[in-house]
Symmetry: C2
Subunit: 366 residues, 2 copies
């Protein structure tokens, strides 16, 4: 008998929400090109604008401040690439996602200590600075009011992991210049994201031609994906408000307690500081993260070592090393990330299986 | 009683094919991130690679030469933007689509005469040159072997309107450096396209980070859209091979004959040279294209004046002016573009309605 699969890799991507699926099915029947002036075109345009308002509501901005892109990665490039090319110094922490760090010309020392303490560095004055609202591998959040000490006009904030999992971290004047986000992290489809531009100036466009998205991002709109993005944003905001993620946090804590009780040396990264409610970054030193991922996959559990984008590459997590863990520890980490459909049975089954495999590993190593 | 809508704007966008819809529905149930190494991730990856092979078959290249993008516009930027930035001169004809022309630093005189004759200019030596395989507004094709006189290593070919409507124009050594295409022009979803790289060198990436698409285009893949793209490519190739577009061409000719018989001064742009089988660019001088589009829309017909991307802007077609038509003629053009579901009844109903409206316009103008 084949065991049922248990998906515990929701920071990599999430199952499509029913609301998103329904919106996408409806969009598939909308025939027009949103740039066409005839009735079919106007219907397609309305669908895009409905989704724009839904996404704006999730992130607390005006609909005109939402620029639809194909991913958070494209949103990052739109916010950063042109300024970086024009001689501005862009800085990202080593803990930032590759889609921001890749444009960085200034390497800053880590702002996170081993348990997530926030240490802003004096003196560095980049034109733009990337600050993620939650780290994708560890779930660690910056302290409250983390933008307060920075010149917000210079900050690109990666809200990819926060959006749809907790109350949105900015309100009123406490906003960065830009935020980047992605639909598939909260039940929307893969391949659609947005740049939120809280400033009055439009970024210099990367994609040019037909003038879509108010000349900020040309190319015929992914109306199916955008419709799913909007519906997922609305549903995700509702789930955050109703406290669904506090239940998930409880399951995450049950998981960590179960592991800690039997495997006392296990490290749970960031468990002394505020974290995303669904994320557990687990270090079992000496048992390689990649090996754990493969063994647990064969046992029916989907987890990851590091972020999905870089998980094909076998190397120690740069995020954990930047936080002060040594290479051996950083190479022995897995990320378990829970979702709305995760149950207590799931996390207890995972704990049993992981502990059994860990015992075998310890025996072999001994 | 409300008349049934008749969509005759297939060069702007097409209805989703059943094959594409089915592939998209199946992809919605594929949970993983293609970059994840676990079972769910590998299934998502397989889906992307299946579609890559299907698209490669349509355009006659190796699967590794297909770089999935969010649109032909993004594909154009990927092929051209970095080279243009690094000081290379990029040239586009004024008849090219905006997504290529926007990067152009060298304006070449038209290669198309009023009836589509091809006049390559001596002496110009740009680093890259845009050449569309068919014009989107008129359907006019370059003459056979149109790449033969050019250094193909320098050519970016826009095959957006050709792909899925006629046999692919390149074979063997007769290939450009790059081709750009878009799924939604042949029954695939909007918001997915590809850059076909026939060269051995990868273009400098625009979107960077996670390293997807073999480091050529980062960002989590639009797996729903890509699955639909692949399925549409396979179905479109089958329809081309089976002669479906010859039937569409017959309907286009019936339409033009019906109009020409009653409105003798009507100009059918490019009707003396090879054209796309489905496209009719119709000039009724003195009756503005935008007015025609609005009147026909109210009567239940979706057509366009100029390409969809620029149809929001009320101005005379630059394509027609570049072909030698005067401003008054260029401002009085519409594009009627047929699709696989178009019937003889559709085109005859269109002809009746258009002729009646034209008579009223002529009476009012007299």
């Amino acid at each position: 008998m084949k065991a049922e699969r248990c998906y515990l890799d929701h920071n990599a991507t999430t199952p499509l929400r029913e609301e998103a699926r329904a919106a996408m099915l409806a969009a598939m029947d909308v025939l027009g090109n949103p740039s066409s002036v005839h009735s079919e075109g106007r219907k397609a345009k309305m669908l895009v604008e409905k989704a724009r308002a839904q996404v704006a509501a999730l992130v607390g901005c005006l609909p005109t401040q939402v620029i639809f892109t194909s991913s958070a990665t494209e949103a990052a490039a739109l916010a950063v690439a042109q300024k970086a090319r024009h001689g501005g110094v862009f800085a990202a922490l080593p803990t930032e996602h590759d889609c921001l760090e890749v444009w960085s010309e200034l390497s800053l020392p880590s702002w996170y200590g081993a348990q997530g303490a926030y240490r802003p560095r004096q003196g560095a004055q980049p034109v733009l600075l990337a600050v993620s609202a939650a780290n994708s591998e560890t779930g660690v959040l910056p302290p409250e009011g983390f933008l307060a000490d920075l010149d917000r006009r210079n900050v690109v904030c990666d809200v990819t992991q926060v959006a749809g999992k907790m109350a949105f971290p900015f309100g009123g004047d406490d906003r960065p210049a830009y935020a980047i986000l992605s639909a598939h992290k909260f039940g929307g489809p893969k391949g659609v994201g947005a740049l939120i531009n809280y400033t009055r100036d439009d970024p210099e466009p990367l994609l040019r031609g037909g003038g879509q998205e108010m000349n900020r991002r040309s190319g015929t709109e992914n109306i199916t994906g955008i419709a799913g993005f909007g519906a997922a944003a609305e549903a995700a905001a509702r789930d955050v408000a109703s406290g669904r993620w506090e239940e998930i946090e409880e399951l995450r804590n049950i998981l960590e307690n179960a592991l800690a009780t039997s495997a006392k040396k296990t490290i749970f990264v960031g468990n002394q500081v505020p974290r995303l409610p669904n994320t557990s970054c687990i270090i079992a030193e000496g048992w390689k993260g990649e090996t754990q991922v493969m063994q647990m996959d064969l046992a029916g559990f989907a987890i990851s070592a590091g972020s999905a984008c870089s998980s094909g590459k076998v190397k120690a997590s740069k995020v954990l090393q930047a936080m002060g863990y040594n290479e051996s520890e950083a190479a022995s980490a897995i990320r378990v990330s829970l979702g709305l459909a995760t149950t207590k049975t799931d996390v207890l089954r995972f704990a049993d299986e992981w502990l059994a495999k860990r015992d075998k590993h310890t025996e072999r190593a001994a």
